[in-house]
Symmetry: C3
Subunit: 353 residues, 3 copies
């Protein structure tokens, strides 16, 4: 159901690789490689990549047969190498060459439950115990993993990978080539409650979740359906694990978020943004295109221009932290005392001439 990780497509020469993927060879183009490896642990039939200058010493000691690197790093090793302008992206394609996705095996497992009135493409695979409700559509070459649930009227596009134990609620849509990792929940109710006489009244959540093409959703990530309108993630959005996207958020194309980010309801995040791990984006605000939010940063109001924003409280040895942090609660007083000193000193200077 999944490519055996680490399996090799058989040895290929560097010359063959550059014919397929571009770049150029420096050193012996006939060197054969059979798999990708890390600089640190590569075996003698592996090709590794080098992009982070901090790892120069690893490059020097690598056991790899060859490496992928940038033109600027070409001289750092004598090993046969492929020189590429964007070695990290090159390596992504190269690793895919050695580790192609296994195609789904068309058919519905006998233990799966597919409702009458669901439309499952003949080339799709529905895994053991999966449930596809009435009115749902499953696109061509899409895999619905074991135990996953596709609600009424939900639409999953072509060539999607829905891993085991995913829940996609009624009416939600996933574009082509979507990847949803295990434990993700798409389209649960948003958190809409209204206070009334000391109790909470639930507001029905009748919007949907709409994911564009090429969206990836990490394990145990949750994306809530809209309260009235839809929650939307545009094409190419990439979400890591354990992320929470509140109802009615709108996330622009190709924005990527690292693990454990929390995005509150009705936030509007632009295109090509990057959001660091465990950042918190409060609700009813907007973030422009091309903005970077650092890890563990709380964005509490609308940002009006693109840039890099950070708000990480610095750690320290516990004793030093305790000493310094006690002053945080006195900062306003400290500022007042500085101002008072400035005035007193100015008075004194004036008086003394």
């Amino acid at each position: 159901m999944r490519a055996d990780p680490g399996r090799s497509a058989g040895p290929i020469s560097l010359a063959t690789i550059v014919r397929r993927l571009g770049g150029r060879v420096a050193g012996n183009p006939e060197v054969l490689v059979a798999r990708v490896g890390s600089l640190e642990n590569a075996t003698a039939d592996s090709i590794a990549f080098f992009s982070n200058p901090r790892y120069k010493s690893k490059l020097a000691k690598t056991g790899a047969a060859a490496v992928v690197l940038a033109p600027s790093a070409e001289g750092l090793t004598e090993l046969p190498r492929i020189v590429a302008d964007n070695p990290y992206a090159y390596f992504a394609h190269l690793s895919r060459l050695f580790n192609p996705d296994a195609d789904p095996v068309p058919g519905v497992h006998p233990s799966a439950v597919v409702a009458e009135g669901a439309a499952v493409a003949p080339s799709a695979q529905i895994g053991p115990g999966a449930v596809v409700c009435a009115g749902a559509t499953i696109g061509a070459r899409t895999l619905i993993g074991a135990g996953s649930y596709v609600g009424e009227g939900a639409a999953i596009g072509e060539a999607c990978r829905i891993h085991p134990s995913v829940v996609i609620h009624s009416g939600c849509r996933i574009g082509a080539r979507g990847i949803v990792h295990s434990g993700a929940v798409i389209g649960a109710d948003g958190f809409g409650i209204a206070a009334e006489e000391g109790r909470w009244v639930k507001i029905p959540q009748v919007g949907r979740v709409i994911l564009g093409d090429d969206v990836e959703v990490g394990a145990n990530t949750t994306i809530d359906r809209g309260a009235i309108d839809d929650t939307v993630l545009e094409d190419g959005v990439k979400l890591d694990n354990q992320i929470q996207i509140g109802h009615n958020c709108h996330i622009g194309a190709n924005t990527a978020m690292a693990g454990c980010v929390a995005v509150a309801g009705s936030a509007r995040i632009g295109r090509n943004c990057t959001i660091g791990a465990a950042a918190v984006i409060l609700g009813h605000l907007s973030i422009p295109d091309n903005t970077a939010i650092s890890a563990a940063t709380v964005i509490s109001r609308t940002l009006h221009k693109a840039g890099t924003y950070t708000g990480m409280y610095p750690f320290d040895e516990n004793a030093a932290w305790a000493r310094n942090t006690a002053q945080v609660r006195r900062l306003s007083e400290l500022a007042d005392r500085i101002k008072a000193l400035e005035k007193r000193l100015a008075d004194k200077e004036n008086k003394d001439g």
Copy 2:
């Protein structure tokens, strides 16, 4: 299995609505509406609501047939409108009118596994692949979603919605009208480990999780069973997604928590509290009734009086953040230098007369 989101109960006049839900009509009471809509995207057969003054311009431009608003906002539009003292709660009831919960379809799906000795109400629905263990009880009109698991001796009350892929462990209890969203885990072991000679010894977690009536638990939220005594959430508690409630916590009635909150073990949170997104409540402390904790705030000790508490580190453009945050580690030194300045200046002033 779930109401088709967005489906309408058929057009109703404003006059009929206020007969059913209260409030009063301003403008033409015969206007018909067929669904709820947002101010922004409402279609001509929709009724929207207005409660946030920031959205005045949206009110002016809305395509809705009618709006719900507060007496103070009555003059802000010429549209037919329903005037209600609490427009947000009113809207909740109104949306429910258009979007009633679908009743469960009584019966046990053939692929579900219900142990002998489990007591399932005849009006309950057990979805495909669900597992109900021995000694468990499932109340009347309750829905157990596809692939969900109800452990030995667990008791689920009447009219509950247990969405697909929920795990409720042995012995736990959920009151009437409970809603548990997909991926939630109720009653996993608390994190109880004791250090012994450099290793950890697991402490059996033999308490239960007890949820009162009208509790809602968000997607992928976890509530751990007690170590010895129970973990308790009183009536009306509302938890958003991805929340962690540690063992032996006690959460008072009608307290609501936004997404990604972490509550460590044995915390005692009062009634009618609100806890903002991604707040962290440390363990073995208590928080009084009617307390509000802001988003991303760490509560590290018991609070003795109700109020609003905040501890969000401010974000800034990266360069400004780096400059300012470097001083955080020197705050204690800065305070000392201010004190020294005050002394030197006073000495000088005294000396000079």
Copy 3:
């Protein structure tokens, strides 16, 4: 499938307990106890434990028949008691005596799907709806819970408890006596994406997750597979709920993490560390053995010596917080003004002599 929580192994005398577990009795050794209880709620047939001096008043009022405590606390009560050097660990063993794990009931549930070519030990139990893929191995006396998924070639050791709704992806390994709680996902793809012409290219994640012996993984925790090499958790690592471990992390033996911790990719955490709730460990850094990270602390660079590190921003009443936090953005300026004052005052002092 699980021991009934709270069930008792029958009354035992204190004398019998110390014969089995060590320690010594003070007071009547013939007192019988039938279960463990908390100081607060213990019934008259219970034995409680006392280790936190803050709970002296609870000790005084407890209804327990007996207590476990440290030699230094022996004089604090007249109750029959067991005196043990490490009362908390003692209590762990004692609770296990009363609450032994139920053995799995060997066999494969008829609704489970075990692929040909999977090797399931005869003494293992495969729960309803569980899926075990080709090439997977399930060790002796191991329980695979309802609806859990074990991918191709994954290897689960002896005497493991894989709770319901767990996903263990292809090729991953879990050592002996592992416990994985519901909703956990082990071996989903790491978050590896390379930017290329404004879009993201996915990097195949072909490493595995390798867990040593005696590892516990909390509910809804996620541990990603390595990009090329493996993600490794050594023996005895204990993870609470909702933790995210990024690809290629290496976590040393007996390190324990509280709930909601986020560990970014390629972090290297030593042995015997403790990481507090909701801490964030950024990627590509290392933390030495025996280090304690406080709750809600962001570790943003390599730590070179063991110690306790903290970075929790202090909370305050909202108004005070707002006043003080406004100064955080001016800290660098405040520091400059202090420096300027020091210089002016020194000049003045010098000038005046």
